[in-house]
Structures are given as structure tokens and as C-alpha cells.
């Protein structure tokens, strides 16, 4: 029996969703006396509930009031205890189109979608949208409530027709649907069977939620244990995490994803440290391994054969993304991918399509905006083990996080790993960076000069390199202007083009550092997040971000390339400082005064390079 049922409530306030949930809450004893009093004595404008009667919509729905107060419309959580002892957790998401993100959040953990259909309006675009999102998020089944049957004279033919439409729509999305006639306003067939529905012999809504069981036993794919935390005590080293996928037992074979390490489960402990002989999915456990294997937070444990099959580490994936940020997706920009305690840098290398949620059609797309859903290809810096989402909501899902603001920009569902011979294993060569540095008698490093066009980055780079060269050091300057003449001549100046420009220059700098050189980069690189991605390619101490701080008026006065003049004439829409912003570094390793002495600036840079 499923002890805790997670429900997503879909439909709009107009469909009577708040009233329906309020009815359920009251029928299961979830509404307190003071809440009922409030709902008896309070009336919203336009309410048709009789004076002195309970307006059930007021029990659940603070949402409208919030809207008026300008507070974010959000997912609300309500709890009900069914007479059978089953707990129901209702995630109530607002129904309007612009809240796809919230609906997807509410659906992401749900077992059942309770979907409202207004008998007077029929299956609408919004109904299909909610079904589509639930299907996408892997909600296995739907309980559809055809509401307001009182308004159509309890007409069986209206219900039958709508029930057929809903079933067909759900079927199209691969979901199982039960359809229930009701009128939430007077509570008909919500918790009690209704005398107005003599032709109906199915369950009430409450009955359907009580009887719900998964269509089939969840197929046990074999356990996965994402390690959250390593517990250490006297002579004890345990790996703590929550079991997903299938049961785990002492003596089970264990592999650690990405590295070929194997062992077996020694002890299996539940919360509090009590020994268990089996732990089902959903149990928070601690395991000890029979062998001394290095495992840390973020590692994924699974049966060795699972790690050879579906979970074998990959560096590229086809992923369905739900874009959740105001700022649109940028191809080529580096984000942080988070999954099960792991965090790895990842780049969206291609947008394949965008989903038309209502028709289910796929549209051509180059980017994704807030609330868009689409398919992308994603490449990670280091290989990771991810299941397909249809196999597991736990180990097949991920988040993308902006490197600077740290906001969640997307939720992702893995379609499949992309191998295509691109799972590259780095090869180690005997002559390495250290050997090359020794031969040159220097320590390799990147000095990254960022600043407005005309700030004096190239001039400073030139002065610095002359000095270093004079000291017998081996150097190279990567100048934005020069790189765009060759390696990056295919790139434009849109934010996406700039992101890719920075990425490529950073990768070249990485190669040159590996070659043992001191690299000076002179590049506008206006966006913080791109510079953060560049820095992330290097070890601590190998990368110095230097802000060449020159007042914008001074840069415009110098205008060595005539860019400011062109921008003023409206010919350069993406000019930094005009059409596009320049984001100065928040914590640069050094700030040099671009309007000050060149020699002093070079002195400061040389000091920065001294070990």
C-alpha cells in the first residue's frame, strides 16, 4: 500500500479548484474550527455562496489575495489524512499559462494529477497544457474531475462526452485517466456519493484517492545510492544517502560510478544507526563497504553491472530542459550542473527544438526563454553517471545553475546519454606541465585583463610582455582582436557570441599554460559569468583576473579603433558600454588604473606574477 500519496492539483480558480480542495480538506478533518469560521463569515467579491454557509474556496486559497498584494503566485502544500490512514500531500499550483514553471515543480514529485475540467467549458487548451506538463514530469496517472455538473443539469451525456475526450487526451500522453463527475460547490461526489448522480456507480474523488495504487509494481531497476555525506566515528566510516531505484541489502555488490572501484555492502544502517537486513527505495541509510574504497559526497553507488550499462559515465547528454530564469538560455555558456550532490560545469552545445506544449509539436528553436520547454545537448566538463529520466526521476534529473547569481536557470530530464565516440579519456604524457616549467625555469599562469573597449588592455599587455621577455621568461599574448581574425572569426558580438569567444580563448590559454607559458589575455570579456567559467578551467593560483579600470569617457575619447564613434552613429548595436552592459569584476585579483601610469600598472602585474 502506498502510505503517502503525492498529488498535484491542476486547473484554474475558475474551474472550482480551490473549492474542490477545500471540500476535501474539510471532509478529511484538515480544516480547523477557526478556519471554518473564517470561511463562513468572509466573502470575496462576486461570491455566490449563501450567507452563513462555508465558502470552501477560502480554506485553501490565499493565492488570489496574494496576487492582489503583488506577492509571487506560488506552489502551496496542503496535507490530508484519509480515513484509511493514507497521507495525501497536495501540491497546489496556479493554473495560468505563465506559471508553467510552478506547475512543473508541483508535478515533479506527484504520483497522481487531480485535473479539473469545467463541465460548462469542456476540455480547453489549459487542460491539455496541464496534462502535457504532468506527462513530461513523469506523473503516471490522472484523476480527472468533471466539475460543475449541476450547471448542466446533471446531464449524463455531457459527462460521457467530456470523459471520453479527457481519456483520449491522457492516452495521447501515455497516461492512465479515471474520470469522476462532481459538483464541488455543494460537495456532490467529492467525499460522499451524490443523489444527483443516480447513473454513476464509480468512486467519489475521496474514494479514488483512497483506492489509488500504482498501475504496476514499480520495476526494480536495481538500487542507486547517491552519497550525501560521509559519517565518521571511532573506527567507523559510513556512506550516508537515500536509496532509490530498488532495495539494497548487506552483501550486495557495489560499484562507484566513474572509476571502476568495486566492493560489497558491509553493514546497512537505518536512521539512528540500527542495522537493517534490507532497505527499500526512499529509506535514508548509511552503508559501510567491505573494502577500503575512496568514496565521497557526490559519488554514486550502484551495482557494478548497472554502472556498465545505463549508468556508464558520459560527457554529453540529450536533455529536456524547462527554462526557469528570466535570462534566456545561452549556447556555449558554462553553467553548473547539479545532480544528486554532484556539481560539475556543463555547457549547452545545441538547442534541438522547443515544445509546443498544447499541440505536443516540436518547433525549431535557437534558445529557450522563461517557461519554455525544449530539447538540448549538454556537455559536461567531467563525465557523470545519469539515468534516463523515464527510468528514474531521482537519478535522471538535474538542475542547471547560473555560475554567478547561483539561481536555478533550468530543470533537466535526461533523455539519453550521447556517446558517439565523444567520451574522451584524457591521456597522460610523461613530459608534463611541471617538466616544461622546470625547463623554462618559470611558473605558468594566466593574467586575464578585462575592461571596456579602449581601456588600454592591449597596450598594457604589450608593456608587460616586453618586460617579462626581457627577464628571460616565456610568454604569449592572446589579444581579442587577433583571435577574432582567425580562430574566432565565425563569432559575432551577441552575448552568445561573446560567451563562446571567451570560452575558446580560455581553452587556448589552458593549453598554453600546460605548455608552461605565462599567458596574458587582453579581452573585453564583459560578462561576469563568462569570466567565472574561464577561471573555473584553471587551478587555484593559475588564473589572475585583472580589471583595467578606465573611465568610460576616457575610453570614448581615446577610441583607438573608432568603435565609439560608430556606436554613437548607431552602427554597433552590441557595443560594450552602449547597447550591452559591461559587468566589472566583483572580486578581481588586481585593479589597475587604466588612466594612470603604464609603468606602475606593469609593476603591479609583475608583482602579481611573482611566486
Amino acid at each position: 500500500m502506498v502510505a503517502v500519496l503525492r498529488v498535484v492539483a491542476c486547473g484554474s480558480v475558475d474551474d472550482g479548484k480551490s473549492t474542490l480542495i477545500g471540500r476535501l480538506l474539510a471532509a478529511t478533518g484538515g480544516a480547523t474550527d477557526d478556519q471554518l469560521d473564517y470561511a463562513r463569515t468572509t466573502r470575496r467579491g462576486g461570491s455566490t455562496v449563501a450567507a452563513g454557509a462555508v465558502d470552501y474556496s477560502l480554506l485553501t486559497d490565499g493565492l488570489e489575495a496574494e496576487h492582489e498584494q503583488g506577492i509571487t503566485i506560488d506552489v502551496a502544500h496542503l496535507f490530508m489524512d484519509l480515513p484509511s490512514g493514507r497521507r495525501v500531500i497536495v501540491a497546489d499550483a496556479p493554473g495560468h499559462e505563465q506559471y508553467t514553471r510552478n506547475m512543473a515543480v508541483a508535478a515533479s514529485t506527484a504520483d497522481v494529477a487531480v485535473l479539473l475540467v469545467d463541465a460548462t467549458k469542456g476540455v480547453r487548451e489549459q487542460t491539455r497544457r496541464h496534462l502535457a506538463i504532468c506527462a513530461l514530469m513523469g506523473v503516471p496517472s490522472v484523476v480527472a474531475v468533471v466539475n460543475k455538473l449541476d450547471a448542466v443539469g446533471w446531464d449524463r451525456s455531457v459527462f460521457d462526452e467530456l470523459a471520453g475526450e479527457v481519456r483520449a487526451a491522457a492516452d495521447g500522453f501515455g497516461m492512465r485517466a479515471d474520470v469522476i463527475p462532481a459538483s464541488a460547490l455543494d460537495g456532490d461526489n467529492v467525499a460522499e456519493p451524490s443523489p444527483n448522480l443516480p447513473w454513476y456507480d464509480g468512486p467519489t474523488l475521496l474514494g479514488a484517492l483512497t483506492a489509488w495504487e500504482p498501475a504496476q509494481e514499480p520495476q526494480e531497476a536495481g538500487y542507486r545510492l547517491p552519497v550525501q555525506y560521509v559519517i565518521r566515528a571511532d573506527g567507523f566510516r559510513g556512506l550516508a544517502g537515500t536509496v532509490v531505484g530498488g532495495p539494497i541489502r548487506p552483501g550486495d555488490a557495489v560499484g562507484v560510478a566513474g572509476g571502476g572501484r568495486t566492493s560489497t555492502v558491509g553493514r546497512l544502517l537505518g536512521p539512528g544507526g540500527t542495522d537493517l537486513d534490507r532497505a527499500a527505495p526512499g529509506t535514508a541509510v548509511t552503508v559501510t563497504l567491505a573494502d577500503d574504497v575512496d568514496v565521497r559526497r557526490g559519488d554514486l553507488l550502484a551495482a557494478p553491472e548497472a554502472l556498465r550499462d545505463g549508468l556508464s559515465p558520459a560527457g554529453a547528454f540529450s536533455v529536456t530542459l524547462i527554462w526557469t530564469a528570466e535570462e534566456p538560455l545561452r549556447n556555449g555558456r558554462s553553467y553548473l550542473l547539479r545532480a544528486g550532490g554532484r556539481t560539475v560545469p556543463a555547457v549547452v552545445t545545441a538547442v534541438r527544438d522547443r515544445l509546443d506544449v498544447v499541440s505536443g509539436g516540436r518547433l525549431a528553436a535557437r534558445t529557450l526563454d522563461l517557461n519554455d520547454i525544449g530539447t538540448v545537448e549538454l556537455t559536461t566538463d567531467t563525465p557523470v553517471s545519469l539515468d534516463a529520466y523515464r527510468e528514474s526521476r531521482h537519478t535522471g534529473s538535474l538542475l542547471l545553475v547560473d555560475r554567478v547569481t547561483k539561481e536555478t536557470v533550468a530543470a533537466g530530464m535526461v533523455r539519453h546519454a550521447l556517446r558517439r565516440g565523444r567520451t574522451v579519456a584524457p591521456r597522460a604524457y610523461t613530459v608534463d606541465r611541471e617538466a616544461r616549467e622546470r625547463l623554462k625555469g618559470q611558473r605558468a599562469k594566466v593574467v586575464w585583463l578585462t575592461g571596456l573597449p579602449g581601456a588600454g588592455k592591449s597596450t598594457l599587455a604589450n608593456t608587460l610582455e616586453r618586460r617579462l621577455h626581457g627577464m628571460g621568461l616565456h610568454t604569449y599574448v592572446l589579444d581579442g582582436e587577433n583571435v577574432r581574425g582567425g580562430l574566432n572569426k565565425d563569432l559575432g558580438f551577441t552575448p552568445q557570441g561573446r560567451a563562446e569567444n571567451v570560452r575558446r580563448v580560455a581553452e587556448v590559454a589552458r593549453v598554453l599554460v600546460d605548455a608552461g607559458l605565462i599567458v596574458v589575455v587582453a579581452l573585453v570579456s564583459p560578462f561576469r559569468t563568462d569570466r567565472a567559467a574561464a577561471r573555473a578551467l584553471f587551478a587555484e593560483g593559475d588564473f589572475a583576473e585583472v580589471f583595467v579600470d578606465t573611465p568610460a569617457e576616457e575610453c570614448a575619447r581615446r577610441d583607438p579603433k573608432g568603435l565609439y564613434a560608430q556606436a554613437r552613429a548607431g552602427r554597433l548595436p552590441n557595443m560594450t558600454g552602449h547597447g550591452q552592459a559591461y559587468e566589472p569584476p566583483e572580486h578581481p585579483d588586481l585593479v589597475v588604473d587604466g588612466a594612470g601610469s603604464l609603468d606602475e600598472a606593469a609593476d603591479a602585474l609583475c608583482a602579481l606574477l611573482r611566486p
Binding site: 490565499g62 506577492i71 514529485t109 547561483k406 530543470a411
Partner: protein
């Protein structure tokens, strides 16, 4: 009964998962301990989550100086019994519920003190025992609730919580509040206390206590600082508390429930909201939200 145990198992597993995530993801987490029943459950879960190891974070209590004496005695006994790294923070600034009004008193003695305790400790994540069923505006609270610099709660910057994946990354100056008991109800808390035999402050159980009645609220006169009206005298009544806080702001309920079974039984009959006994919540429907945006828990 099987259903009840299975529900508690799920809630326990979920809370343990969240507590471990906090310990793994943040450099300096802290557990906020308010001495009440929810805090007692939270502490018990935190001990279970890391057994046989030790709970890897300290415990902070914000003491307003107006807590029930039995709460403070219970706090110190609990810290002693469990060997907690307990840090008590009090704001020396003068403020009482009688002279400053409840809102300003709460701001000075609770909100500002809490903010300072978190800043001084350099804590980037604070674990609290708030539940979504406590109050309507809590129903949409996140489990991982982001605070902007200055501990501001910005409804618009709250992160979507997909699946069981938490985004625990923080930008400069941001901190996180974490609520492992989000999906627990008041009944779950008592059932879990019964099942796990967790000690709680005796004030939750009915006893004869000296009370005065003010605006329909029963206030226990816990010491001689309580300003009595002329002619007003505390009388002994059989009462208990559903929530605990500052004694002048916490109203008692008349009750005969002397043990947990009787409390659970009483909850089946008494259908009033739990926080109805908190005088500080009652200032307008969104007062919790306005307190939260100032940095209250």
C-alpha cells in the same frame, strides 16, 4: 496503525535526507533550537541522521529573556544530556512586550538577535523546525528558503524546488534557511514524539498553573515581571500549551491532557489552529510574511 508508522517513516527519511544534504553542501550550518516540540523533534532527527557519528553542527538558541522558566531549565538539561554545542544569544537592548508592542519587541529581541547570531557565527545555512501546516502563509514556503544579503526574504527570488534536488549554491552575501519538517503536521509531531519517546517541556501537559485572562487569552504569570492590572490576581487553572514562546505572548488552553495519548486524543476533538495561541502572529493576515521579510524565521 500501520499507516501511521509508514507515514512517520517517510517523514523521518525525508527529514534525514534534508539534514544530510545541509551537512554535505554547506561549510558552516547551524541548527536553530527554540526548545519547543518541533525543535525537540528536529534535534532528535539530527542526532539520528549522523549516528553513529556526531551531529556536525552547533545549536543556537535566541533567548529573549521572556521564555518560560521551565523552557530554559529544559534547554540546559537537554544540552547537558546530549552534549550539545549550544550557543545562547540574547540582545541586551531594552525591550519588553509591554512597553514596545509585540511587533517591535519581536523585531528587537528575536529577529535582530537571530540575524546577529548568524552573522557573528558566519553561518551560511540555518536549520529550523517550521512546518507548512502551521500557518497559511507557510504553505508555500520552500524547504530550502533563500535569504538575500541582510537576511531579507524575497518572495521573487525563491528557487523552484524540482524533485528532491536542492540548489544549495549561494551567491555573495546570500544565506539559506532550511526546514526539514516542512511536510509534517502537528499530529505527526506528537505521534513521532510518542513513537520515539522524545522528551518535551512539561508545559505541553495539563497542570494547575497561575493564569490571568486578557482579551480572551489565558496568560500564565511565570514571574513577578508581569504587570498585573489593579485588583487582577492570577488564579490556578488546569491548562497546557500547544506552542511555546515568550510567556506573556503565549496563551494557554484549558485542558485535562496529561500525557501524549491524551494530547493526541484531544487534538481529534479540539479543532482550533495551533498558532491561534501565538499573540504575535495575529496582527493582520500577512504579519508572518512581513516578519519574514525582515529576517524572522
Amino acid at each position: 496503525m500501520a499507516g501511521e508508522d509508514a507515514v512517520l517513516d517517510m517523514l523521518e527519511a525525508e527529514a534525514v535526507h534534508i539534514l544530510r544534504e545541509v551537512a554535505g553542501a554547506f561549510r558552516r550550518p547551524v541548527l536553530l533550537y527554540s526548545i519547543g516540540k518541533d525543535s525537540s523533534v528536529l534535534l532528535h532527527l539530527a542526532l539520528k541522521a549522523f549516528a553513529p557519528g556526531r551531529m556536525p553542527f552547533p545549536v543556537v538558541h535566541v533567548d529573549t529573556g521572556w521564555k518560560f522558566r521551565e523552557m530554559i531549565a529544559f534547554r540546559d538539561a537537554t544540552a547537558e544530556r546530549l552534549g550539545l554545542d549550544l550557543r545562547v544569544h540574547t540582545n541586551p537592548d531594552e525591550a519588553t512586550p509591554f512597553t514596545h508592542g509585540t511587533h517591535e519587541y519581536t523585531r528587537i529581541k528575536k529577529t535582530l538577535t537571530l540575524r546577529k547570531a548568524l552573522d557573528d557565527g558566519g553561518f551560511e545555512a540555518a536549520i529550523g523546525g517550521a512546518r507548512r501546516d502551521e500557518e497559511r502563509s507557510r504553505a508555500k514556503e520552500r524547504i530550502f528558503s533563500l535569504r538575500e544579503p541582510g537576511h531579507r526574504w524575497e518572495p521573487r527570488s525563491q528557487r523552484p524546488e524540482f524533485w528532491w534536488q536542492a540548489n544549495t549554491e549561494l551567491a555573495d552575501g546570500q544565506t539559506m534557511r532550511v526546514f526539514p519538517l516542512s511536510n509534517w503536521t502537528e499530529l505527526d509531531v506528537w505521534r513521532y514524539i510518542r513513537r520515539e519517546d522524545i522528551p518535551v517541556v512539561p508545559l505541553y501537559f495539563a497542570a494547575d498553573r497561575p493564569v490571568v485572562e486578557r482579551n480572551g487569552s489565558l496568560i500564565m504569570v511565570d514571574d513577578d515581571r508581569y504587570p498585573l492590572e489593579p485588583g487582577e490576581r492570577p488564579v490556578q487553572r488546569r491548562v497546557r500549551f500547544r506552542t511555546l514562546g515568550c510567556y506573556p505572548l503565549t496563551s494557554a488552553v484549558e485542558s485535562k491532557a496529561e500525557n501524549i495519548d491524551e494530547i493526541i486524543d484531544e487534538m481529534g476533538r479540539d479543532r482550533r489552529s495551533e498558532r491561534a495561541g501565538r499573540l504575535i502572529d495575529g496582527e493582520g493576515g500577512t504579519s508572518m510574511e512581513s516578519k519574514k521579510s525582515e529576517g524572522y524565521f
